[in-house]
């Protein structure tokens, strides 16, 4: 049998969520990781711990606090309502916000590691070759950290695909809006529709595996190329 339309919709929502989340994380995470890789601020460890929190925190805990914040009684959701919008809980936008927190360490940490590995020397060389700080960042730091960018993007994307607890807490399970693949699978198993569950699980397994193969293969090649 073939996957149902509802399953395909769930897959589309999942890919869209993972794509948007990865994009936002690359935009926000790059300057954050750059700063964390180079600052000598003595309290940097506090920020590093905050970024790493989603690695150890149960997703339901993260989801619970986000639900409180984004709901109509919460500070962010309340503000949205006051401005004439609707609360962000149980919306796709809410899911994106939750996913950004949830997948943050998977994007920021590889980027920070890649930037730190470059060291100061190539940037000093670029400075003596007339490149301004912004110029140095885009023409030296980013190209030299490219394997870090690939790793960050793939891990961020793949990790968002596998999100379950946070989505359940703040997105609920609204088909066509917030129902993602991991939750659709849970529904199918609850309803004893194992064939559907197989389709979706197998698809997610294959997709995740392919992406990780890409990361490790690229990292191997990058290591071979760089002296």
């Amino acid at each position: 049998m073939m996957p149902s339309d509802a399953d395909l919709t769930a897959l589309a929502i999942t890919l869209k969520l993972a794509g948007i989340t990865t994009l936002i994380l690359l935009l926000l995470g790059t300057p954050l990781a750059w700063w964390m890789a180079r600052t000598r601020w003595r309290f940097k460890f506090l920020l590093e711990a905050v970024v790493a929190l989603p690695l150890v925190l149960p997703p339901t805990v993260l989801g619970f606090y986000l639900l409180v914040a984004l709901g109509s009684q919460g500070p962010i959701g309340g503000l949205m309502e006051a401005l004439g919008g609707r609360p962000l809980a149980f919306t796709f936008t809410g899911l994106v916000i939750g996913s950004v927190f949830y997948s943050m360490p998977f994007v920021v940490q590889p980027l920070q590691g890649a930037f730190a590995a470059i060291g100061r020397r190539p940037l000093e060389v670029a400075a003596t070759l007339r490149a301004s700080p912004l110029d140095r960042f885009f023409t030296v730091a980013v190209p030299l950290a490219r394997s870090g960018f690939v790793t960050a993007a793939v891990l961020g994307f793949a990790h968002t695909l596998g999100e379950f607890g946070v989505v359940l807490m703040i997105g609920g399970n609204i088909p066509g809006e917030t129902q993602v693949v991991s939750i659709a699978i849970y529904d199918h198993v609850e309803g004893l529709e194992y064939a559907h569950a197989h389709w979706l699980s197998g698809g997610l397994l294959l997709l995740s595996f392919l992406m990780l193969i890409t990361v490790y293969a690229l990292n191997r090649r990058f290591r071979l190329v760089q002296p």
Binding site: R121, V125, A127, T128, L129, R130, A131, D135, V140, Q226
Partner: protein, 355 residues
């Protein structure tokens, strides 16, 4: 054009405190043991080392004073690091062109092609940097620094990481820079041998302070400095090829104190050359010796004498204002009654031609 530099940098376990005037031409070597602050001083000149308490003027450009700090990318300088530090994501050509692209066309005095030619890297242009040998990498790094048409070239021990063969490969290129381009160079080194070959001026650094500074020939023969002591003390003499002796295959080189005769070198008449005369190879006589195999004998005046260990003395001589060193026994010094102002003849048993 001159370079005025005053820096006070305190790094806790190390402090640099210098006030230095460097001539705006030729090669100035910063020499000293590792950890004496040579690299820190060079980085401060480039603006890579931030230092609140400093003043730096290069020609008529003020790069740093109490109010201003020109960031490194706005200083028209070239910098060669100890490790070549080529950009791994660019080819050799990409590395060479990186800086040039950022220099306005009107300020380009050294073309990329000239830099490529001077350092002999023309055949490497399409290579990846990981495919280069250590010597090739450093030549590309030097060409890259030159291609930005710097007003001053800063070199931080560019030969330190290389073995002797690679050093021999690069030194001729460095010497040719000296002859072909009119760019002042500040060259950090801990090797007196490199300095002897490349430098015109010398700044001796010790524990973050300047111990002495001056023209290389003077500095090497100043008896109050360590360079004039020890087994390999030597004098350097800049001379000009005066002619060749076809019958005996010899080359004559003139300097203000007389004429050197050495085995024939393939150098054109008028070519300037640097000669090295070791203190232990110079003996002293009161009369002009005849009946000796030694060809290089010059009248000289004794300037200063200092004991060298317990049995020897080092004598500083002036041959037509050019300082020479002689290492003789204390006994000979007593027998010949050597003293300041006395006229003697210096006999150089062996002379090495450096360039």
């Amino acid at each position: 054009m001159n370079i005025e530099a005053r820096f006070r940098i305190d790094k806790g376990d190390f402090a640099l405190d210098v006030d230095l005037g460097i001539p705006g031409q030729g090669v100035t070597a910063l020499l000293g043991p590792s950890g004496c602050g040579k690299t820190t001083l060079l980085r401060a000149i480039a603006g890579l080392e931030s230092c609140r308490d400093g003043f730096l003027q290069v020609g008529d450009m003020i790069w740093q004073d109490a109010r201003r700090f020109v960031p490194p990318h706005q200083r028209p300088l070239g910098y060669v690091f100890q490790e070549a530090s080529l950009f791994a994501h660019l080819t050799v050509r990409g590395n060479l062109e990186y800086g040039v692209k950022r220099v306005p066309k009107t300020e380009r005095k050294v073309s990329v092609n000239k830099a490529i030619e001077l350092l002999g890297v023309g055949l490497l242009l399409e290579r990846r940097t990981s495919q280069l040998s250590g010597g090739e990498r450093q030549r590309v790094a030097i060409a890259r620094a030159l291609a930005v048409s710097p007003e001053i070239l800063l070199m931080d021990e560019p030969l330190a990481g290389l073995d002797l063969a690679r050093k021999q490969e690069i030194i001729p290129y460095l010497e040719s820079l000296h002859n072909e381009l009119d760019i002042p160079v500040i060259y950090v080194s801990h090797s007196p041998d490199e300095v002897a070959r490349l430098a015109d001026h010398l700044v001796l650094l010790e524990a973050g302070r300047i111990k002495a500074a001056g023209a290389l020939g003077d500095m090497l023969t100043r008896l109050d400095l360590p360079l004039a002591h020890g087994d390999d003390a030597e004098a350097l003499i800049d001379a000009v090829v005066a002619g060749h002796d076809d019958k005996y295959d010899l080359t004559h080189l003139d300097f203000p104190g007389g004429r050197f005769t050495v085995t024939r070198k393939a150098l054109p008449v008028g070519h300037s050359a640097r000669l090295r005369v070791a203190a232990r190879d110079v003996s002293l006589t009161l009369e002009h010796q005849s009946g000796t195999s030694i060809l290089n004998i010059f009248p000289a005046t004794i300037d200063e004498i200092m004991p060298e260990g317990i049995a020897q003395v080092t004598v500083r001589l002036l041959a037509g204002d050019v300082p020479l060193l002689s290492r003789v026994t204390r006994k000979s010094a007593t027998l010949l009654e050597l003293e300041h102002g006395k006229s003697v003849y210096a006999q150089a048993k062996s002379v090495a031609l450096l360039s």
